[in-house]
């Protein structure tokens, strides 16, 4: 009863925002300059996302964004919000809330991501358009709260769509685009929006924001492949083992075809990613002999390296910024590297997952220099990337 009272209080204090289409909010609305951190940019996205419910659990470096999301609840921008007991509980409750047919948001980091791991394939298998922000950090090799994005490697095959933000601007845009893409009838998959912790979350920079008196229109659960669990529709079963889970070919086939459909739905997201995010990749200096392929903050460090090299050394290198990790832009990358003699892949993790992804999809892998890599919180100065490029050029 106390909870209902909270909801009502929040609703009555609700701000007067006009519901608009994703095209209007993301692509057409005029934008103004703001100077803010990535965490604040997340909150500005949440403010404009028309979210029904958000659930939080603290972890560095995610916490500030979910504090601010809580403030938005108190101000009436969100209809319900609470702090759950741990990340598995958060991701399970977000799943439950999404089953109820509303729009939900949460965020986590590193160890929280791993603790909640079991729920991510459940979201995808349940075809839920949940958007979750991941503020990437070290996990436990050894324990670290510092930035690195090894957790993304663990999530590559959860069925989730994955976007990697370079900076606060991307973080803001990709979260809102995430809802627009996830809620397409033919997609209906969870979207993870990843940013490198601290480098984005705690860094204050200029970003361009649409006005705060507009927001995404209400989510319509009736266009979902699975109707909401609300007993307003014919009842259905959402169980992790399709049919009855013992051994028979029909149950294997049902499970396999359901899984294939999850993968196919991610493929169908491509055209919407093109529309709302301007493509799965962005290319600078196309056709250069040396191409850098990077995602997240490694893109910014690569831009710094490319500019310094051009100014100081007269060397031109190209850059492929990979925005969508799932679906993976294999064909786009193959085409953009077709004429390159060397491909440098700087990363903020020890495993080199992006290099593996690229090498699994392009020809002539002897061109690939799978590095440089930093992790454990290290910065990656442009000079380090320049060193590698110069060696490649020799």
């Amino acid at each position: 009863m106390s909870m209902s009272a909270n909801i009502n209080a929040a609703a009555s204090a609700g701000p007067n925002q006009k519901a608009v289409s994703p095209e209007e909010l993301l692509l057409k609305a005029p934008r103004e300059r703001a100077f803010m951190t990535g965490s604040e940019a997340v909150a500005e996205a949440v403010r404009r996302a028309g979210i029904d419910m958000a659930i939080a659990y603290p972890i560095t470096p995610q916490s500030e964004s979910m504090h601010l999301t809580g403030d938005l609840f108190a101000q009436g921008y969100i209809k319900d919000y609470y702090r759950a007991e741990n990340e598995f509980a958060v991701m399970a409750a977000v799943h439950g809330a999404s089953l109820g047919g509303g729009r939900v948001f949460t965020a986590t980091s590193g160890p929280g991501t791993l603790r909640a791991m079991e729920m991510f394939p459940v979201w995808a298998g349940s075809r839920q358009p949940i958007v979750c922000a991941f503020m990437c950090r070290g996990v436990a090799l050894p324990p670290s709260i510092q930035p690195e994005n090894i957790e993304m490697a663990f999530l590559l095959d959860t069925g989730m769509i994955m976007f990697h933000a370079e900076n606060s601007q991307d973080f803001f845009d990709f979260i809102l685009a995430g809802y627009a893409i996830a809620e397409q009838s033919e997609v209906h998959l969870p979207v993870g929006v990843f940013a490198d912790g601290f480098f984005v979350t705690h860094t204050r920079e200029v970003i361009m924001l649409p006005p705060d008196n507009i927001k995404l229109g209400e989510y319509n659960p009736d266009i979902a492949p699975i109707p909401p669990f609300d007993m307003e529709h014919a009842p259905m079963q959402m169980v992790r083992d399709p049919l009855l889970n013992k051994c028979n070919f029909v149950s294997y086939a049902a499970s396999a075809s359901w899984h294939q459909e999850v993968l196919a739905a991610a493929e169908r997201a491509r055209k919407h990613i093109n529309k709302y995010m301007g493509g799965l990749i962005e290319v600078e200096n196309p056709g250069a002999d040396i191409m850098i392929i990077a995602s997240g903050i490694a893109v910014s460090q690569s831009r710094d390296a490319i500019r310094t090299m051009a100014e100081r050394d007269g060397i031109t290198a190209g850059l492929i910024k990979v925005k969508s990790i799932r679906p993976f832009p294999a064909a786009e990358i193959a085409q953009a590297t077709a004429r390159a003699s060397a491909i440098v892949i700087p990363e903020f993790n020890a495993g080199g997952w992006l290099a593996r992804e690229v090498m699994g999809t392009i020809d002539n892998n002897s061109r690939v220099i799978a590095g440089p890599r930093v992790f454990g919180g290290m910065s990656l100065p442009g000079e380090v990337i320049i060193d590698v490029i110069k060696k490649a050029a020799r």
Binding site: R33, F35, M36, T37, S39, E40, T60, P61, S63, E64, H67, L68, D71, I145, Q146, P147, G197, F198, F199, V200, H202, T203, R204, E205, V206, I297, S300, Q301, R303, D304, R307, E311, G377, S379, L380, P381, G382
Partner: protein
């Protein structure tokens, strides 16, 4: 025109306003049409534990992120950063560029001979400003030490940023017009600081006074 970059590293102790000083400087720079990127040291901040923040300033878009490893300016908010190495970056001048500036909050010299030799070698300029003392003198409290440090920095380099823009940034920061949360801990400290000054207006005025007077002080250095 050639791209001009200026990178600043601010080192101090948690609660001294190192992050806030960086934020105000960055806000002022951006307001005057230049580019700035500001970030704290990447870690969980604790009162009186080592804290660093970084300000990158440029005439063009800034891509580089993370800790400033090769600063043009190092600001030391607490002598303990130097005397007992209470600092994330050791030694405190690590990576300082040739001809760089070191601004230390201390009435007396605290730099060891060994470090002095290194700094002489790279033709670094070292300036001591008793910023805590000035804060008490100008505002009746040591809480505006970060502002006297900022004012002194502006006084030492007039080309850095327009002082009026700094004054506006101070108002924005403390008036609550823009909701700024550097971290949960610093938000909680804000509340404590506010109650000490009682009124927001008085706080803004005192901070402005601190900056102005420290600016004048540094001009005479």
């Amino acid at each position: 025109m050639k791209r001009s970059n200026l990178d600043i590293r601010m080192a101090g102790l948690g609660g001294q306003g190192v992050v806030t000083a960086a934020h105000i400087l960055g806000t002022a720079v951006v307001a005057t049409g230049k580019y700035a990127v500001v970030n704290p040291f990447f870690g969980a901040e604790k009162r009186l534990a080592p804290t660093e923040s970084y300000v990158r300033i440029s005439s063009e878009k800034i891509y580089d992120r993370g800790e400033v490893m090769y600063p043009n300016i190092v600001m030391v908010f607490d002598p303990q950063v130097i005397t007992i190495g209470k600092s994330h970056t050791l030694p405190f001048h690590a990576g300082l560029k040739d001809g760089g500036l070191i601004l230390v909050n201390s009435a007396d010299p605290v730099i060891h001979d060994r470090d002095k030799a290194v700094l002489d070698n790279i033709k670094a300029k070292v300036v001591y400003v008793p910023a805590t003392k000035l804060s008490v003198e100008f505002t009746g409290s040591d809480l505006s030490m970060n502002m006297t440090m900022l004012g002194a920095l502006c006084g030492l380099d007039d080309t850095l940023v327009d002082l009026n823009a700094v004054m506006t940034a101070v108002e924005e920061r403390f008036s609550g017009k823009t909701k700024i949360v550097a971290s949960g801990t610093s938000a909680a400290l804000d509340e404590a600081v506010k109650s000490k000054f009682e009124k927001m207006g008085a706080m803004i005025e005192k901070n402005r006074t601190a900056i102005n007077k420290a600016y004048e002080y540094a001009k005479r250095c």
